[in-house]
């Protein structure tokens, strides 16, 4: 290869500083060098001319034969463009846009390759930074949306809770004011009526306390603070005892209890189990006709595991609601309201699961709703 003094065009190319522009021999050896090449790649002309252009590639590209493959492609396609990491003379990397063009003489004979390289490192970094910021912004937006969703949930919760607490507060306030009017009556105080009003106010206070207990249970469950106090419980004797208490609450309601022939002892938190049964019986009373009995069954299921079931003779739970009745506030939502916070079944299921058991709804032949509490293996065989 003979070096010829550069003409005007050669001087123009030599002085370009933003692009590395140089020629390669058909075998890939560097023939010429310009200002831009020195600035971008670091080599001075005398250091690089005559060397194979694979010097510009990272070792793994050299190992995979990429430099020669690019010459083959440029030769067959006429032009080959690539973007990727290249190496400077000091060994540092830069992100390059490379165009290799095959140079042919008038007879079509390959005389070499023209190579134009741009350093896109900064542009690439800026692009990546932009992407990173966009990703971060998306994440921030998603987090904000989730936070708003949580706030809406909290807001809905407060609204439901406030609504349900106002109901007993309304009657409590009313009974107390009626009682106070009695004491302020000009004529003689009607003691029987006063006693009755105070009893009604007392009932409403307990109802209010019960709702607050539910809210506290919900909070404990959400935070994982609800702890069970497990003791051996004999299901049959225990359910008879609970039934007596329930009969005192649901006066006039027929409560049928069926128990296993033999004792079934489980390890359970008796107060929490009572909460489940009370809740199921309360629901049964609310959703079935007054004249229809509520059936409570305690013993071993067909699978030999302890279980408790509460069945009513109402319309049952429509199929489309059967899964959702265990959702928080499910019952409390909507304008067709049956009273209550919609927490009973949710809390009951959570307590069942804390015991290692399950609370499910089951279809009954004919009519009626049936909720089944399954409990783990009896404490002793």
């Amino acid at each position: 290869v003979t070096q010829q003094p550069p003409g005007l065009f050669g001087l123009l190319v030599e002085s370009v500083i933003d692009y590395a522009i140089f020629a390669l021999s058909p075998t890939g050896h560097v023939l010429t060098w310009n200002e831009g090449a020195q600035r971008i790649k670091g080599w001075r002309a005398e250091e690089i001319i005559g060397r194979h252009f694979s010097a510009f590639y990272p070792p793994d590209d050299i190992a995979s034969g990429k430099p020669d493959a690019e010459l083959v492609l440029a030769s067959s396609e006429g032009r080959w463009e690539d973007e990727g990491w290249r190496i400077r003379s000091d060994g540092t990397r830069f992100w390059a846009n490379v165009v290799i063009t095959a140079l042919r003489d008038g007879t079509g004979q390959l005389v070499g390759f023209g190579k134009v390289t741009r350093d896109l490192t900064e542009r690439r970094a800026a692009e990546r930074e932009r992407l990173r910021l966009a990703t971060r912004e998306r994440a921030a937006k998603a987090a904000t949306a989730a936070a708003f969703q949580a706030l809406r949930g909290r807001d809905e919760f407060l609204s439901v809770a406030a609504h349900e607490l106002r109901t007993p507060v309304t009657s409590l306030l009313g009974y107390v004011q009626l009682a106070r009017r009695q004491t302020q009556a000009a004529d003689e105080i009607d003691r029987a009526r006063l006693a009755n009003l105070l009893e009604l106010a007392d009932d409403q206070s307990h109802r209010l306390a019960g709702l607050i207990d539910q809210l506290l249970d919900l909070s404990r469950l959400e935070l994982g603070y609800l702890r069970l106090d497990r003791q051996p419980v004999e299901l049959g004797a225990w359910i008879e005892e609970i039934a007596e208490r329930l009969r005192a609450v649901f006066v006039g309601r027929e409560l049928v209890v069926r128990t296993a022939g033999r004792p079934v002892v489980i390890e359970a938190d008796a107060l929490r189990l009572e909460q489940i049964v009370t809740n199921l019986v309360d629901n049964a009373a609310k959703f079935s006709p007054d004249a229809a009995p509520i059936e409570v069954e305690a013993g071993l299921g067909p699978d030999g595991l302890p279980r408790l079931a509460v069945r009513d003779h109402g319309p049952g739970v429509p199929r489309e609601h059967q899964q959702r009745v265990f959702d928080r506030f499910y019952q409390a939502q909507g304008e067709r309201h049956y009273g209550g916070m919609g927490l009973g079944l949710y809390i009951s299921r959570q307590i069942a699961e804390l015991h290692g058991g399950a609370l499910t709804y089951e279809e009954v032949d004919g009519t009626g709703a049936r909720f089944v509490l399954r409990l783990p293996q009896p404490a002793s065989g």
Binding site: T167, S171, L178, Q204
Partner: protein
């Protein structure tokens, strides 16, 4: 020409109290009866329509969230009935009382909880009269 008796307004009907919560229903009934009002108390919109068939009320105190037939549905059915219409006072423990009251075309509303004085005052205002015999 004989006019239907329901058109006569000389003897205003009782207060129809429509409230699903038994404790609130009982409390309101006691408070209103203490004031000398006649009260017919029912637990949902469905029973309220039944009661209206028996006797036209002079005033309706209407809870909004109720099972079976809620306050919205009741108000719609009630408006479709022929004959004179009694004023409606909407009762609710929920938010946006005035908006909800406007939805059912109520004449007034009362938020729960309320003082008995408020209840009595609103009943007097809406009926424009004191209970008979006072």
């Amino acid at each position: 020409v004989a006019r239907p008796s329901t058109r006569r307004r000389s003897a205003p009907g009782p207060i129809l109290l429509v409230e699903d919560d038994p404790a609130i229903r009982r409390m309101m009934q006691m408070a209103l009866e203490d004031e000398g009002y006649e009260v017919v108390a029912v637990s949902d919109g469905f029973d309220a329509l039944g009661a209206i068939e028996q006797r036209r009320p002079g005033l309706i105190l209407l809870d909004l969230r109720m099972p079976r037939m809620n306050g919205w549905e009741f108000a719609e059915s009630y408006r479709a009935l022929p004959g004179p219409r009694a004023p409606i006072v909407a009762l609710t423990a929920g938010r946006d009382l005035s908006a909800k009251a406007a939805e059912i075309g109520a004449d007034a509303y009362l938020g729960k909880p309320f003082d008995l004085e408020q209840l009595i005052a609103i009943v007097r205002t809406v009926t424009g009269r004191r209970p008979p015999g006072r």
